[in-house]
Assembly symmetry: C2
Homo-oligomer: 410 residues x 2
């Protein structure tokens, strides 16, 4: 592995010299190559799926693993879309002349070498590579064992194209390594500039606690929707249903519904009917259960990111109590208020310190695509560098270029 | 210490609710209070200085420790300046409407709780607090033992003012703790959002290797100036002298001078005379020593941040070799090219991946004040979040505020 990583440094210089046209051409050829190699990729995927069944992996995990012709097309389309995006590297983010007549430009530059440690979904392999390549960053991929054959088939298509353009194949490195070797990988501060772990809590905590390389986490989303006293009931119902039911397994899905005490009598019976139609199990605080007949929610429930057809409900006194609940139990990912009152809305949007705070909108919109960023590398739960949906710009850093006519400071 | 940190969380909410006017008033009162208490601060400083002499601390360390009336005035002026700066929190960094009619605002928000671990200079205490307070961040200070009495006198003035405004004194916490307790501090991920270590290499490496809290380092500057074949000789001399001699002990000071082989015969004898007038010891590669009679520079010299009146010199074949030397030996802090040729300049400015890359300008300009940022919290040698001089904006993160008229995604 260490030998492989040495090659990465050489590849970095070459990658950073590629211009926009060349990068576009390479990416388009890779999209084409992935379509061309789909038979092989799907065959390799079937090996992974057989192994997954043999090892009794969870159905949800196997679902995420499956690659078919449609998925291949989606993967290729994502690469074509990224290829077409405007060049992010070299963009002048700010420019000014100082009092002492220095001309300063703040220019977007690649981060360098990005390591992605991920599980299951093989499309992450090509999506991530395409975003890193477009932003002139070297990609080091460490995928899950369960997807190894599929991932390696995808990377092999990518590397074939890179080599056909006389580019070093080490622009992307796939590491088929054990946990022990992953531990070693996390110590390569000299090579790796940033690690992005994407996966369950245990993966993320393993990464965070074993590295001093900067990490941008894609951690859990314990998301709330608060139905204020001044909510429009129909909006409250539509938004609650969407935030919970559209997809229960994503990090932007609602896990806890907070309801103002003055609207609970009208709202709760209606929403109960709607949720029951959709097979959602409800668990409530005592005050909620005084109004609708549902299971009891305990402390643990309010701390749980279900990612499932279960929802906890709590009645609160007012917006301030809703905010306090979110501060205590939330994961600073995505939280919403439904209200027609500007004061309550402002109070909530200002006080809730989450990456995305919503007014009269479903929390399921937290997604780079929906934000207009194009493809996204994930949703950061970090506070530093990048927060919330991460697109191409978030894969860049900057440097200052300063010029003058021979200025000295003394 | 853990008890103290609990109070910090409560203080955070109160701090984040303060508006611009109130923050300005508090800061101005603190500046005034520091002037008013100068006798006490200077007395406490004299205790620190006596102790420092008794412990035989280095002269340079004692120099940095000394606080007199002028220094107190500088500290107060810095706070007044920060108080007057435009409000950074709540600034709308970007705003757009998406295809699905969501209105998105990207809004600057405080990071939360910032821990500063620093050595020697007591003015860092008040400067750092003022920047954190202005950006609505809680400040946790862990200063060096050698400055403890001075630092605590300054913090006591700050806290006196906070309490007079009915604000929690825990908006700033000064920790007078041992290395063992500092180790504990570095484990407080639940309380601290960011750690900024400012000091020598051993301090920084201690912090980085013992925490999983995000760290923004203020690490070393092994800065180069490259005199290209197409340099204007007078500019090359002026810039080299300034970059090395204005202040030899700062991180933006030149440590290595790279000279194009075709200009070495003319440039080196002249610069040698100038450096000798200023008591700079020169060490050169063999080719340099064929032209001027100076000591030999070995591999170690090119790896050394002297922060002293010593300079290493190397003759290079061309700009590309200069870039390679900087990639290998530099610390990605500040590096300069002196050249009248646009092609060479562009090649250098694009390829050298340092926080600040200069054309025909002294590297000693790397400084928040010089960049027009006002006061600075330091110069980041990180690549993520903030790079180079860090002002108020770099002490903020952002959140997305999203609103619509009841949009659902399904």
């Amino acid at each position: 592995m260490i030998e492989k990583l040495k090659e990465v440094k050489k590849a970095k210089d070459i990658l950073q010299k590629l211009d926009t046209k060349r990068k576009k051409l390479v990416l388009e050829s890779i999209a084409y190559e992935i379509i061309k190699n789909q038979k092989d990729i799907i065959e390799k995927n079937q090996i992974d799926i057989s192994n997954a069944f043999a090892q009794n992996l969870k159905k949800s995990m196997i679902d995420r693993l499956i690659i078919d012709k449609n998925k291949i097309k989606d993967m290729a389309d994502a690469i074509y879309d990224i290829a077409k995006m405007p060049e992010p590297v070299g963009k002048v983010l700010a420019q000014w002349t100082t009092k002492s007549s220095l001309h300063i430009s703040k220019v977007a530059t690649p981060i360098g070498v990005i390591g992605i440690i991920y599980e299951s979904r093989p499309n992450v392999t090509s999506d991530t590579f395409a975003l890193c390549f477009k932003s002139s960053n070297i990609t080091i991929l460490k995928g899950g064992k369960e997807a190894r054959n599929t991932n390696m088939a995808i990377v092999s298509s990518i590397q074939k194209v890179l080599m056909s353009y006389d580019l070093p194949k080490d622009i992307v490195t796939y590491l088929d390594i054990s946990r022990d070797e992953t531990y070693q990988l996390l110590k390569q501060n000299d090579t790796i500039d940033l690690i992005i772990p994407r996966g369950g809590e245990s993966l993320i905590s393993f990464v965070v606690s074993n590295t001093t390389i900067p990490v941008i986490k894609h951690d859990k989303g314990l998301c709330h929707t608060y139905i204020d006293k001044y909510a429009d009931i129909q909006k409250a119902i539509d938004i609650s249903i969407d935030a919970k039911c559209r997809r229960v397994e994503i990090c932007g899905a609602m896990e806890s519904l907070l309801v103002h005490k003055d609207i609970a009598d009208i709202f709760l019976p209606q929403i109960k009917t709607e949720f029951e139609k959709r097979d959602i199990t409800l668990k409530g605080c005592q005050k909620t259960r005084d109004i609708i007949d549902i299971d009891k929610a305990n402390e643990k429930d309010f701390q749980t990111e279900y990612l499932d057809k279960i929802l906890s409900i709590k009645i609160v006194e007012d917006t301030t109590q809703a905010i306090k609940h979110i501060q205590r139990y939330g994961s600073s990912h995505s939280d919403a208020i439904v209200s027609e009152d500007k004061t309550q809305a402002k109070l909530f949007l200002d006080a809730v310190d989450s990456a995305c705070v919503y007014l009269n909108t479903s929390t399921q919109f937290t997604d780079g695509g929906e934000f207009g960023f194009g493809a996204e590398i994930g949703i950061s739960t970090n506070k530093l560098h990048a927060r919330g949906p991460m697109g191409l710009s978030e894969l860049l850093t900057y440097k200052y270029q300063i010029s003058s006519e021979g200025k000295t400071r003394a």
